[in-house]
């Protein structure tokens, strides 16, 4: 019951109960007086009048005292009823606040009763929910950062170990023929190149993460850019055992606002990712809608398990079963792609292809013709 209702009823009772008691007590006093008078033997008229006055006095005081007692009791009783409600609600609130302060952010107040405190309770719950969300996001960020650090150190360490081992091998004279010395040097060069690529990606990624967008966007005809890119990448990846096909509609002429370098990076990173996970074919499909263009990359690799799909755009995430030494690379490729797409005002969606493989769909806002 709300405080208002309680007050209303307490006022009614505060009035009604003393009334009833007054009636009850005067009735009782009357009865008692009669009983008393009936038991007396009166010697004279004056004696009778004296006793009548006595009973009148008695009735007056009896009723008065009864009324006073009732008032005191009723008041105590009723104010407690109202106060208990207020105190109870305040205690509930302060208990909730204490729980929050002690770190139990899942604490919520029950919203069963509709009263003066409902609004406060609703606000309390909303604030607690917000706080909980903020703290969880913060914790997730911390975890990501830790994983980022662990990923960076791991990915820097293994090529460094290789470089050191092969350099020492050369110094120790392990490579005894000119041919094997060349092989050693080639390995050192390749590992250094890997390292450099990783550091470049890391640099780019951290700048993007800080929100420094260094794109120089210009209107480009997407089809022309993609055709060029496809030519370069198709021959490069044919050597690595992956066929890249480019499918486009008739008379593609959509233009978008993009930095050609960034566009290049997006396509290269996706191709690199597919190849890394052992896909043997990658289809790039361009579709044009009135307001946007859609670029779909579909490979025939292992795809991504549904539970890790939300994380494939996180830095240093590698699909769990594939996270081993054979899949090299930083896990930065797709993180860079998703940030670049976002910087261009577009969006990227990942889903699994049939029967197996990964499909990435990028939608970019289209410029008016």
């Amino acid at each position: 019951m709300s405080v208002k209702k309680r007050l209303f009823w307490s006022h009614i009772l505060m009035f009604a109960l003393p009334m009833l008691t007054y009636l009850l007590f005067s009735f009782l006093a009357d009865r008692l007086s009669w009983l008393y008078l009936l038991q007396q033997r009166f010697s004279s008229m004056a004696d009778f009048q004296y006793h009548v006055r006595l009973t009148e006095h008695f009735s007056r005081w009896f009723t008065l005292v009864g009324l006073a007692l009732t008032l005191v009791i009723v008041k105590r009783f009723l104010s407690r009823g109202v106060l208990k409600k207020i105190e109870g609600s305040l205690r509930e609130l302060s208990d909730g606040l204490r729980q929050l302060r002690e770190g139990d952010l899942s604490c919520r107040l029950p919203l069963t009763e509709e009263d003066e405190f409902s609004a406060v309770r609703t606000d309390f719950n909303a604030t607690a929910a917000q706080l909980q969300q903020l703290v969880e996001e913060q914790q997730q960020n911390d975890r990501n950062r830790q994983e980022l650090l662990a990923g960076i150190s791991h990915d820097l360490r293994s090529p460094l170990t290789d470089i050191r081992a092969y350099t020492e091998g050369l110094l120790d004279g392990v490579a005894q023929t000119e041919d094997s010395r060349r092989q050693y040097l080639t390995i050192i060069r390749d590992k250094t190149r890997d390292l450099q690529g990783l550091v470049n990606k890391l640099f780019l990624f951290s700048r993007m993460d800080l929100g420094r967008n260094e794109d120089h966007p210009e209107p480009v005809t997407l089809h022309d850019e993609l055709q060029q890119l496809h030519m370069v990448l198709a021959s490069e990846y044919a050597d690595k055992g992956m066929d890249i096909a480019y499918l486009f509609p008739e008379q593609p002429r959509s233009r978008i606002l993009a930095d050609p370098d960034t566009l290049h990076r997006i396509v290269t990173n996706i191709a690199e990712n597919s190849c890394k996970y052992g896909a043997s074919a990658l289809d790039i499909a361009l579709r044009e809608a009135p307001a946007f263009v859609s670029l779909t990359f579909t490979d025939n690799g292992p795809g991504v398990p549904p539970d890790s799909r939300p994380h494939i755009f996180d830095a240093f995430s590698r699909a769990a079963p594939a996270r081993n030494e054979k899949v090299s690379g930083s896990g930065l490729g797709l993180a860079i792609v998703s940030r670049a797409v976002r910087n261009m005002g577009g969006r990227i969606i990942a889903k699994n292809a049939q029967p197996h493989g990964l499909t990435l769909e990028i939608q970019l806002p289209r410029l008016e013709d």
Binding site: Y166, G169, A175
Partner: protein, 52 residues
Amino acid sequence: MPHILIVEDDRAIARIEKDYLELNGFQVTLAEDGETGRKLALQQPFDLICWM
């Protein structure tokens, strides 16, 4: 000549380990993963197995 089996998934590291050991007069067989290593170890006797 003592025969050593090295199970190591980092090819570059496996290769240089092999070169070092062969230079020092050991015969070395490489396995890239545990399963291959297990099969090799069951097929023939090795003097030492290094499981990385």
